[in-house]
């Protein structure tokens, strides 16, 4: 599609950052998301810590990568046909998938954990998705804390599997492939091959497995650090495998260390990132930067993922702030 201005056809031109289709903005080695040094909180006197700002992706999070690969994989293998999509997601994958599915005229149903912020559910409904809020303990008998995943699976399997297909980001190798082919090469290029530590949170584990595998193939000495919240945490997007089932795509061989982070230091660091770095990030980024601050290294380059922005987490931040920033009379 082209637009016309003053009788001239303005064609897509990456050098001018002018595009015909929002999907042209999806990230990859030729269009990497920016990396910014955490230069005030963690001064570059020893370990240089960079954040990769995934919230600058077109649909607002790192999940743009997985969603694009999951959908194109289903279409290319002929597995979608005329069926609808159903996916379990804490929001970000679903938002990217909903946007991409809408562009292809495909309907999406999302099973989403009850505790996910209302902002994400509304964004999904704005994109035309059907949203099914799901309690973690939905299955009263066999009760891992993954009610949304169980519900999506049952939707996909019901009625002979004729109505829905589930991309299943927790089990689908396309999730890993997305990060192996994009996030990994981007970080390698952006650090000019100097990355020594890579940090990302436990979730679907596609980012850790795919990026970690790529970086270790380039340099086996790269340390891949997984950030895990504590049981009963309030860090949306992250999963504790002390209470949630481990995804099938998780490859422990690429993970060197797991750092467990409590809610309090994660939110405290998120607040500092807002105020001292001008980085308006979600709480999972706070957890990742807190973990980076614990790395015992005198020098080197660390890259942490900043999965999404703080704009979707106002309910959580309101709890953290209390009456801070209001008139104290």
């Amino acid at each position: 599609m082209t637009s016309v201005l003053n009788d001239r056809v303005l064609r897509s031109d990456r050098s001018l950052q002018r595009f015909d289709d929002i999907r042209d903005l999806l990230p990859g080695p030729d269009n990497p998301t920016p990396m910014v040094r955490v230069s005030r909180i963690l001064p570059a006197t020893g370990l240089d810590v960079f954040l990769k700002l995934e919230w600058l992706n077109p649909f607002g999070s790192i999940k743009d990568r997985a969603a694009a690969y999951l959908l194109s994989g289903l279409i290319e293998r002929g597995e979608l046909g005329d069926r609808e999509l159903v996916e379990a997601s804490s929001g970000n994958t679903a938002i990217a998938l909903a946007a991409l599915a809408a562009l292809d005229g495909v309907k999406l149903t999302v099973t989403i954990p009850d505790g996910v912020p209302e902002e994400k559910k509304i964004q999904l409904r704005m994109l035309g998705a059907e949203v099914w809020p799901t309690p973690d303990d939905l299955c009263p008998v066999d009760n891992p804390k993954d009610g949304a995943i169980a519900l999506a699976r049952s939707l996909a399997a019901s009625d002979g599997g004729n109505r829905y297909v589930m991309p299943n980001q927790y089990e689908n190798p396309d999730n890993v492939k997305a990060h192996y082919e994009t996030t990994g090469p981007e970080i390698w290029n952006q650090t000019e091959g100097n990355v020594e530590y890579f940090l990302a949170g436990f979730g679907t584990t596609g980012t850790l497995t795919g990026t970690g595998r790529y970086l270790k193939e380039r340099n086996p000495d790269v340390k891949v650090i997984a950030i895990e919240p504590e049981k009963g945490h309030r860090l949306p997007g992250l999963k504790s495998f002390q209470e949630a089932k481990q995804p099938g795509i998780l490859d422990w061989d690429v993970i060197d260390e797991v750092i467990r982070v409590d809610d309090e230091p994660a939110y405290a660091m998120t607040k500092r990132l807002y105020r001292e770095e001008g980085l308006m990030v979600g709480p999972s980024t706070g957890a990742i930067v807190h973990a980076a601050s614990l790395i015992d290294a005198e020098r080197g380059v660390a890259v942490g993922v900043s999965p999404d922005s703080g704009l979707k987490y106002t309910e959580f931040f309101a709890d953290v702030l209390g009456d801070e920033g209001t008139p104290q009379i």
């Binding site: 299955c139 009610g147 049952s154 939707l155 019901s158 009625d159």
Partner: protein, 84 residues
């Protein structure tokens, strides 16, 4: 349907035939949520897993499972919505 020879009149019926657990649990909880305390939901399922899940759901929610009928392929539950 009768209990102690007294007929039970369902306030609403939910047919979850062909749906696998936990989908019937999810839909039953939604349907019960729309009823008043004391109302009765007739729930039809075809997944044998419902024989464990539905009684557990009723206990968890504070509803009363009045009766269960299983003919090997179809299960019919009568659930009375609790006060909570």
């Amino acid at each position: 349907m009768t209990i102690d020879n007294q007929p039970i009149a369902a306030t609403d019926t939910l047919d979850c035939s062909g749906l696998l657990c936990p989908l019937p649990v999810y839909k039953a909880a939604l349907a019960l949520g729309k009823l008043e305390a004391g109302d009765i939901l007739e729930l039809i399922t075809t997944d044998p897993g419902a024989l464990e899940d539905i009684p557990a759901m009723a206990r968890q929610r504070g509803d009363t499972l009045l009766s269960t009928d299983d003919n090997g392929t179809t299960q019919v539950f009568y659930l009375e919505k609790g006060a909570a």
